[in-house]
């Protein structure tokens, strides 16, 4: 066990865990941030996707020891404020994307990484960026539409 300080959603968080513990379990069990989901434990389903310095990372396979001093964003920290959701979150609601909803936090975080890199993604860009996120309910058609909608809105905001 060792004391580690992580920067999560803009706040410094100190935890006392085995440094090999994957970030996922620190978020869920130690910090009470349960929006990041456990799906497979081996980086093949994407339900645990978070942003580390803006890049999409699978929290289930990332030991916290690697993350000291880096900026972690989870689904809980994506919106600027509770009444000002991220354009992706708004688009997800409008397109009524979720069925069971379990994978959607991870999907949104992967999409957020994509849009920060490619503000106007093509279908092929979306396919590539979202390839690591499974949706067991099969909401891919709506996910793709919601990403395009959010991209359009982000472009408007900047214009």
């Amino acid at each position: 066990m060792s004391t580690l300080t992580l920067r999560v959603n803009g706040r410094a968080q100190t935890t006392d865990v085995d440094p090999n513990t994957p970030l996922l379990w620190v978020l869920r069990d130690s910090l009470g941030l349960v929006g990041t989901k456990f799906g497979c434990g081996m980086s093949v389903c994407g339900a645990c996707t978070v942003l580390v310095d803006g890049e999409a990372v699978r929290a289930c396979s990332t030991p916290v020891a690697n993350l000291a001093g880096r900026s972690i964003t989870t689904i809980e920290g994506l919106a600027k404020s509770p009444d000002r959701l991220h354009p992706l979150q708004q688009a997800w609601i409008e397109h009524d994307v979720p069925q069971c909803g379990y994978c959607q936090a991870g999907q949104i975080m992967s999409a957020a990484a994509l849009l920060s890199r490619k503000p106007k993604p093509s279908d092929a860009d979306i396919d590539a960026a979202m390839a690591g996120n499974l949706c067991r309910c099969g909401t891919y058609q709506r996910i793709r539409a919601a990403i395009h909608t959010a991209a359009g809105r982000l472009a408007q905001e900047k214009a």
């Binding site: 066990m1 865990v17 085995d18 513990t21 994957p22 379990w25 069990d29 130690s30 009470g32 349960v34 929006g35 990041t36 989901k37 456990f38 799906g39 497979c40 434990g41 081996m42 093949v44 389903c45 339900a47 989870t74 689904i75 809980e76 994506l78 919106a79 509770p82 959701l85 992706l88 979150q89 997800w92 609601i93 409008e94 009524d96 994307v97 979720p98 069925q99 069971c100 909803g101 379990y102 959607q104 936090a105 949104i108 979306i126 396919d127 590539a128 979202m130 390839a131 996120n133 499974l134 949706c135 067991r136 309910c137 099969g138 909401t139 891919y140 058609q141 709506r142 996910i143 793709r144």
Partner: protein, 745 residues
Amino acid sequence: MNALVDMAAGADASLRDLMQDIESGTPGRALRAIKLDRRSFLRMTGLAGGGLLLAFGSSSPALPAAEAAGEFVPNAFLRISRKGSILIYSKGPEIGQGIKTAFPLIIAEELDARWSEVTVEQAPVNPAVYGRQSAGGSRSIPDSWDQLRRAGAVARSMLVAAAAATWKVPADQCTTRDSAVWNGKRSLKYGELAARAAALPVPDPATVKLKERGEYRLLGKSYTGVDNVAVVTGAPLFGIDQQLPGLKVAVFERCPATGGKVKTANLDEVKRLPGVRDAFVIEGNGKPTEVMPGIAIVADSTWAAFEEWDESGASRDSWSELSRRAAELGRQPIGAQTVANVGAVDEALKGAAKTVSGFYTYPFVSHAPLEPQNCTAWNHDGMLEFWAPSQTADRALETVSGALGVPVDKVKIHQTRVGGGFGRRLMNDYVCEAGAIAQRFNGPVKLVWTREQDLAQDFFRVAGFHSLTGGIDAAGRLVAWRNHFVTFSHDGKTPSSGGNMPEQEFPAQNLPNYQLTQTLLPLKTPTGPWRAPRSCSVAWVIQSFLHELSAAAGRDHRDFLLEVMGEPRLLQGGLNTGRAADVIRLATEKAGWGRKLPEGHGLGLAFHFSHAGHFAEVAEVSVDRNKRVRLHRMVVAGDIGPIVNMSGARNQCEGGVVDGFSTMLGLEITMENGRIQQSNFHQYPLLRMADHPQVEVHFIQSEHPPTGVGEPALPPVAPAICNAIFAASGHRVRTLPLTREGFTV
């Protein structure tokens, strides 16, 4: 060991009963024991005051005390505060089928509420008050439609009576809309009427007037899910998200082959691991649906508890051996048991102008919901309390009570949102396990399965083998159909749960000569209901073979299928051939059936009736020389009567197509020496973003009562795709998944 095998066979028998209950909409035993007729049951759910205390325990999110005074609570589904907030309780589990939005919409429609003023909460689990609180068999809408409409109409009639008394006008001079009662130009908001309505007697729900369909203001339009904001912001919703002060995490290791017992366990060593609080053996009762023997480890965090070890096994099931024996058996045209025999098949086949034969094989598949099985349990103050992501929380009450020896009134279950059902969570084994661990531990525990456990310890969609022969007359009409179905059995007498075909299975009632026989292979691996049980596999066989026959006859498949349907009539089991023909015509019209296609492309048509839904689908695929398949578009045409929430209904069809495609394309569960060979998603490759098809959904909103849509769009998917592959490439797929025949995407 024999005792264990008997227990497993008994568990499969109870699963078959469960599936029958779920598909027929029969309430759980706890409710049946009350023996209410429908009328008195409706009255009971309409009881105000004392009766409601039954439903609202401490778990119910009560309104603030000040607001609760003068609150209008006409029944267990609805509360209207003086300030006008309208709280609707959704009684059944939300598993991704959208019921938490659909149920309240039905109540709000009859209440004439403004939808934006409605908030929705999950109802407490109390089948004595709410009736059925299960999600399965696509039965939620048909079984609850009347109950929910009347719950809303009771409230509306009382609010109208309260307004009429205030204005001293006859009630029939009052109308309602947008959460208010109107008389001419004056109006009173429901909140303003709440205190007065609360003082009125509650009418018998059976006597209240319901709206005509033409009067609907809410139903049939598109609504976004009531939990969408919580889902996209990562708020705690699911079973696995439960948090309680002092909560510990538990894992439970069972034998990797079903039926194994704990021989030895290094409990002392495990207990010394950092973060581990306790470790112990649970003997269990040997029922896969309840508690199998295993080792429980309780730890401070999930990571600490995931340290693992091995033990020895029991089941010797082997897929390579089972499929080899099935193929041998399939060489016989007739099986050991006769299920159906219409006309004279042998003679009809002898006299046919043309006969066609084919041997079809589909594999075991897993449910693989993305939220692994989990349940939080706490044994405290004489109660065993659960937070369970179950599809059947109502039935879990009895199951837990029986398995753990706790009186049913000492069991309390909170239903959480469910991260995917697909039939897996009709069984409550993980709930029983969590309870068994909680009984041994001082404090709340959350049992979490690993993905590996979730894939290995499933109740699989049963595999099957069909040896088919069909006969066509000189005019190209289908005149004879023979199917020898090789399936599995846990007890040697009855097909395993999900592995049966009923006597009236299509096309038994559509042909002059039809024969269905079956042979049973022994199996120990647990099986169970998987999205659209039975239909999810046999529709592929039947609709593919129909296409083989129409192709052999040189007929247009649409014409051939319509000819098999015949005159519009209602068949035993609920298939309405008129509704079938209508969706077949609609799907083919929307897909441009008969149009010229690019080289390498093909259209495929399939129809299936299941779960009261009539669905026809047309797939457009292309196949290249390397057997690479693209599903470009799927047109879905369905008749489930009037639609409650258009967005939700379309979403179920879109998801059903992806699920059907994903499963037929590359998913299979195999076992060797009793051990499941697939451990995680890298060996169970669900469809990903790049390969999803464009899905187009069309509904015929017929005047029939509304029925469910979680399942019936799935069965036609696989045969539509395989028929399109044949049209595109001339290759007839007779083995699933497609990857077994060398196809890729």
